[in-house]
């Protein structure tokens, strides 16, 4: 993992202590330290092992369905009357989102480490489903921690996880959302260090998770970069993705970070507005702090107590963000903007009607930003958006808001 300290590159991080600038690090209890160091050692071995990479690629192709298509959204482009809009179709992956890319990678690592039990946290349930899926595929028992609030609003995914043989443990601590599920998963891990592998679902947590999850998700950006070069003969002007913990975003961003003419835009959950408490915009409305093993932007009060976020989308409802995004923000390589619940909801409906694609509420946030930007851009300009997941899981939430009986 010898990152060359190339000062001209935005892709060299983290350093050997897991830092992206002041962000990242390893802020964990002593019980977990030996595990995290072992994980790092095994990950460093695996990523340079052609056998590991071969297995990863093979499962990617035949189990996940990679490469995912790059799709020119012709009617949406016409409708908005500006930049050409391309979607990276991660929603077509097995299990319906980008989450599976990371899960396949990490379960291969878990097997390599001889771990016999998988735990995971989940918000929207997409990562829980992806974890339960790979656990079934590799014959390992799986426990998924999920906030009680999320268990309720993502009922179809809870059922999926159970069908796949996972045990779903509702977490009632705090507000019963993603951060509480993560606390509970960490508690499980410190208790069952010997046999358990913690399959973190986003590019956050202690080093090496942010780097490792990014590397598993960077397949999105690598493919998209090739595909757009093939389709258009040039790179996009803007790359846009929704940011919860930040894994689908860093996955598509990373391969473009050194293409200095490509603007990088992360979309945070603006919830009901940034003036109040009901949002989840860690960078736009938070400040740096330490939670879940890393230093990063957080929603917190003046005493350093972490606040509960709010978003219409359970997958964005996390009061932190992966450390690499915090760094990209501070050095000015990427910009982060909020999108409100109602804007995401409108985008969700527009895409469904105009392109026949029901997006998840998370990428609907990215789409709402596309809808704002595209009309102001020239017809010869290109936007690439990560369509990170499909919306089947969200139809009940949306139906309820739109006043439809399902």
């Amino acid at each position: 993992m010898n990152q060359s300290p190339n000062l001209n590159s935005f892709r060299g991080g983290p350093d050997e202590d897991g830092r992206f600038g002041i962000y990242g690090g390893r802020f964990v209890a002593e019980t977990l330290m030996p595990l995290i160091l072992e994980l790092q050692e095994k990950w460093d071995e695996a990523k340079d092992d052609p056998e590991f990479q071969k297995e990863l690629a093979s499962l990617g192709a035949h189990y996940i369905g990679r490469p995912s298509p790059l799709y020119f959204a012709e009617r949406l482009t016409e409708h908005l009357g500006g930049a050409k809009i391309y979607f990276k179709r991660e929603e077509l992956n097995h299990t319906g989102s980008h989450k599976i890319n990371n899960c396949i990678g990490q379960i291969l690592l878990a097997k390599r480490m001889g771990k016999t039990r998988i735990i995971a946290e989940t918000g929207a349930g997409q990562h829980g489903v992806a974890s339960a899926t790979v656990a079934a595929r590799f014959g390992l028992p799986c426990v998924v921690y999920m906030g009680a609030t999320d268990v309720e609003r993502q009922a179809p995914n809870v059922f999926r996880m159970k069908l796949l043989g996972a045990e779903v443990k509702p977490v009632t601590a705090g507000h019963g959302t993603l951060k509480d599920a993560m606390n509970e998963a960490l508690r499980d891990w410190v208790t069952n260090v010997e046999d358990t592998y913690y399959l973190i679902g986003t590019a956050a947590g202690p080093h090496p998770y942010p780097e490792m999850v990014r590397d598993f998700q960077a397949v999105i950006g690598r493919e998209a970069r090739e595909q757009i070069l093939e389709a258009e003969g040039r790179l996009p002007d803007v790359v846009i993705a929704a940011v919860g913990g930040g894994s689908n975003a860093i996955g598509i961003f990373h391969p473009f970070l050194d293409d200095k003419d490509v603007r990088i835009v992360g979309v945070e959950a603006g919830g009901k507005g940034l003036d109040g408490e009901e949002h989840c915009a860690s960078i736009t409305a938070g400040s740096p702090g330490v939670l879940h093993g890393n230093r990063t932007y957080l929603l917190q009060d003046g005493d350093g107590q972490i606040k509960e976020g709010h978003s219409i989308s359970a997958g964005l409802d996390y009061p932190g963000i992966g450390p690499e995004h915090s760094w990209l923000n501070d050095v000015g390589r990427a910009e982060y903007v909020p999108i409100m619940d109602h804007e995401a909801l409108e985008a969700f409906q527009l895409l469904t009607r105009i392109e026949g694609i029901i997006p998840a509420l998370e990428p609907a946030h990215a789409l709402a930003e596309v809808i704002k930007r595209a009309p102001k851009m020239g017809k010869d300009e290109i936007i690439l958006m990560n369509l990170s997941g499909r919306g089947d899981k969200d139809i009940f939430t949306v139906g309820k808001i739109l006043g439809m009986e399902l």
Binding site: F27, T191, N192, D303
Partner: protein, 279 residues
């Protein structure tokens, strides 16, 4: 201020018995009652006080301490108030070492320099910050030790021989051996295993080794105390407080009295451990 901690352990060594280290959550269930509990601890036989700093996301704690933290935060406890509690306590007790225990973020937000200044001035002797392993020593440990505040580290069953020297490197005051992998409030493991683990740590350090996680009764305290320099009791005290409260979490007559009785009993446990150790 290191002196106060060293003196306390030296005195206890001379007495030939282990220390009783008691943990409670600052501000649980409210500031005044919590201060009264703190004042009662040494009178009931506690030798070292661990003052918990509440945090919204206590990742290494079980339900008892999670709930205590939530009660304290609901009652308006902040890091500034926890420091004030130590200051108030020091007005009448200049000898009992106080260790602040909690998570890093509230300290980071308070500001490390400002925190160390205020902690020294409040009469704090040591810090236990759960989510700052040796790899993160530059954050708080190194500046704290430079200012004469002990940085007490947790060693656990996963801390192997290779890692132990690293863990002990900047540790001072005492070593807190967490006798099992897990969260606070878990069951007590086999005392004979603990004795072996304490000896293993003592091969690498001359610091006192205190053992915690799972100690609930005088009998536990005696059994563990026979093979350690101190016994740490946390969840049992916090549970005692919780069980004394009204349904909506307010203090009752039984709150301080209950803690006093429990600590008195635990204190008799460590005092009888002296005999066990001498056998």
């Amino acid at each position: 201020m290191t002196a106060r901690m060293d003196r306390r352990f030296a005195d206890l060594a001379a007495e030939g018995r282990p220390a009783l280290v008691t943990y409670f959550m600052g501000g649980d269930p409210d500031y005044a009652s919590s201060l009264a509990i703190m004042k009662a601890l040494p009178k009931a036989g506690s030798d070292v006080i661990e003052l918990g700093m509440p945090f919204s996301d206590p990742m290494a704690d079980g339900p008892a301490i999670q709930l205590a933290g939530q009660r304290a935060l609901r009652a308006g406890q902040t890091l500034a108030k926890t420091l004030q509690m130590a200051r108030d306590f020091r007005l009448e007790d200049a000898d009992t070492p106080i260790v602040l225990m909690g998570y890093y973020n509230p300290i980071y937000i308070y500001g490390v320099e400002r925190f160390l200044n205020d902690a020294l001035e409040a009469g704090i002797d040591g810090l236990i910050v759960v989510d700052l392993p040796p790899e993160m020593d530059d954050e708080l440990c190194v500046p704290a030790v430079a200012r004469g505040i002990n940085f007490i580290r947790l060693a656990t069953p996963t801390t192997d021989a290779k890692r132990l020297p690293r863990v002990l490197e900047n540790t001072s005051g005492f070593v807190y051996y967490v006798s099992m992998n897990g969260i606070t409030g878990s069951a007590l493991p086999d005392p004979s295993l603990i004795g072996a683990a304490v000896l293993r740590i003592k091969e690498h350090t001359t610091l006192p080794v205190c053992v915690g996680f799972g100690v609930k009764t005088a009998e536990h305290a005696r059994a563990i105390g026979a093979s350690a320099d101190g016994v740490v009791v946390g969840s049992a005290i916090v549970n005692q407080i919780a069980s004394s409260l009204t349904a909506n979490g307010t203090v009752t007559e039984a709150t301080v009295a209950g803690v006093e009785a429990l600590v008195r009993s635990l204190a008799s446990g460590v005092r009888s451990a002296k005999l066990a150790a001498a056998e």
